[in-house]
Amino acid sequence: MATQTGTVAPKATSLQMLRLQHVWRRKGERLLIYVLLLLVALMALLPLMWAFAASLTPNAKVFEYAFPFSLRALFPVEFTLEAYEALFARGFGDALKNSFWLAGVTVVLGGTINALAGFAFARFEFRGKRILFLTVILLPFLVPVDLTAIPRFILVNTLDWRNTWQALIVPGLGNSLAIFLFRQFFEEIPQDLIDAARVDGASWMRLFYNVVLPLSRPVLITAALFLFLQQWDAYFWPLLVAPRPELRLVQVAISSAVEEHRTRWNEQLAGSMLAAIVPILLLLPFQRYYIQAVTSSGLKD
């Protein structure tokens, strides 16, 4: 555009100007991007920074600078590890272990059975497929699990599963969202691969295990994330069916900092920080898989 209107300037200068303009524009753009990136990062981090600082502060000092708020509140007041020490003295380590075990078992078992179901929905035509998908997969997905807890509780109680691991594990295995993600991913596996294996005489189970699963690492990891977080964040259900101290889970342990007339804020926030670290450690290294799970699934179009 500048060249077309640039009747005065010689051609070379005009090109130089254009390039300079271009460089400046790109620099300005990059600056803008960084400013935006930083702003968003700040918004993501600010609550966590305050929570972390407060977890390193004696309980009576938590609001010293936080109300009314001043920037000083983003740093610990009279630095202390007492909240973390108190947490572990109350068995937080066991709760972490329990939650990790529960979430781990759920990921392995739940991942397997939901993948199988997702595969059936993706690669088979069978009678009742649509209606099964609507009623069994979609309907329970639209209702908050906590609000249907009473019949589920009576069921688990009748099975005599109270205060057992299976009461925590089994009801959380079948997961609509995971089945849906698997279905979308499996639909995109090239038919040729499946046909080839079938011609070689592989059974469907063998095909699933040898052909499909090796291709499915991204969606396996994504579904695992959902299953993991669901059990990691569980609070209401575990309190109902497995209140015994030996089975205490991490969110329940955090809530024990809430007394009748006082909250041990520093302890509650310390527990929350520790509880957040585990999923973060699982999230970050696998980022690219989450991305692949979507890019190579039917979700993309």
Partner: protein
């Protein structure tokens, strides 16, 4: 020979094992509130009762009610024993969730409980929840802030009027650094929206908590006494602005951070101070619960009871535990080493007036509080629909606190509560 040998062995084995089996302890579970420390008290009970194991499940206050709804409503046999907030006794009794406990207690046991507590634990003439603790409220005072503002600090036995409290609170409310945000508040109630704590505002002016039938609220909670009492409440938050409208940071957290001059709060704050004393660096004291200049002195009361699940597999053991912890040495242990709340037994409560340990210092405040607990305590409404009543009033108080019209809010509460109470009428 061979067979006889086996029979002999079996009999011998049975003789050895039988006493062992008989000695094996029965385990009962106790669904307890609020993460109170209970290990020491349970150990004491188990030492005296080797045939019973008590397993404690403790949850926070809000979770307790859901747990009871689902577990007892679902017909589960556990928990065997449960902590019951006094005013829900009638509701649980009506639903048939609690085992009658009359045969577990002697006449002396009953006579020793505070009469109001005994009455509150009774449904349809049967004792269904045994009183464990009672409560009261005091005016907590940050003496340093009073002195800095040149206000005379009241004595421990003084009783201010609400009008005086409002006046002092206005002087204490300050924006010390001049940035336009109040950083020192005058006054608030510890639980800003709970009927437990706010009831004296209306009852002190001649109001009633609920109609005599335990169901009617129209003409009761929108009476002139309620409107006047809650207009005072509203003014503290909205007119003079001496109390923070937003309670996400709790009153007691503000007080113990040194940012609030006065609060009406429970004596459990004395225990809180003792636990955090190292980090609290201001002088404080207490005074008696305030009253309206033209009204009566009345104080909040009521606390925790304990009941037995109707479906418990071990009702006898459960009853023995309930009897132990709600009377005598058990009640004293629970107060001293458990929840720290005042015991509901008069003989135990009397120790506050006689024991030397309460003669001075912070401990003396407990003696004052224990005495205050006997000054015209006014129990909460007894109603099968208490939970609905409390929740809806909570909404109304929250609205009033944040600026809604007092009369409209109370009238709305009347409409809502009346429509919930329909199901409890014949």
């Amino acid at each position: 020979m061979h067979i006889r040998y086996i029979v002999l062995m079996t009999v011998a084995l049975l003789l050895v094992v039988a006493p062992l089996a008989a000695q094996e302890a029965t385990t009962i579970t106790w669904l307890n509130c609020c993460n109170w420390p209970s290990e020491e008290v349970i150990a004491e009970f188990e030492a005296e009762n080797p045939d019973i194991n008590v397993e404690v499940e403790t949850v926070d206050f809000n979770a307790l009610f859901e747990q009871i709804q689902v577990r007892l409503g679902g017909g589960a046999s556990d928990p065997d024993v449960l902590s019951v907030d006094v005013p829900v006794t009638a509701g649980y009794g009506l639903r048939g969730w609690l085992l009658p406990l009359d045969d577990a207690f002697s006449d002396e046991d009953r006579a020793d409980w505070l009469p109001a507590a005994l009455a509150a634990g009774t449904y349809n003439g049967e004792l269904v929840s045994a009183p464990v603790s009672t409560s009261t409220q005091l005016l907590f005072i940050n003496s340093d802030l009073f002195e800095a503002a040149g206000i005379e600090v009241p004595g421990v036995d003084d009783r201010l009027t609400y009008e005086q409290v409002a006046d002092i609170a206005a002087q204490l409310t300050q924006d010390t650094d001049g940035d336009g945000i109040t950083d020192q508040w005058g006054f608030s109630w510890e639980q800003t929206v709970r009927i437990y704590q706010l009831q004296p505002l209306a009852v002190g002016l001649g109001g009633q908590s609920i109609g005599d039938d335990g169901l009617t609220v129209d003409g009761v909670i929108n009476s002139q006494a309620w409107i006047d009492g809650f207009t005072f409440y509203s003014d503290m938050f909205n007119e003079s602005r001496v109390a923070p409208q937003d309670d996400t940071i709790g009153t007691s957290d503000l007080f113990w951070s040194g940012k609030m001059g006065m609060m009406i709060a429970g004596p459990w704050n004395i225990n809180r101070y003792l636990r955090e004393a190292d980090d609290i660096d201001f002088d404080w004291t207490v005074a008696r619960h305030p009253y309206f200049e033209n009204g009566e002195v009345t104080t909040p009361t009521g606390s925790w009871h304990i009941g037995v699940n109707i479906n418990s597999d071990s009702p006898d053991e459960a009853k023995r535990f309930v009897q132990w912890i709600s009377t005598g040495a058990g009640a004293e242990a629970w107060w001293r080493r458990g929840s720290g709340d005042f015991p509901a037994q008069q003989s135990v409560l009397a120790q506050f007036q006689t024991d030397e340990e309460f003669d001075e210092g912070v401990q003396y405040f407990l003696r004052v509080a224990a005495d205050e607990a006997t000054v015209n305590p006014d129990p909460r409404a007894v109603s099968p629909g208490y939970l609905e009543y409390e929740q809806i009033l909570q909404d109304a108080f929250q609205d009033i606190r944040t600026g809604a019209d007092v009369e409209e809010s109370l009238n709305l509460a009347v409409t809502r509560i009346e429509s919930e109470m329909v199901k409890y009428r014949g």
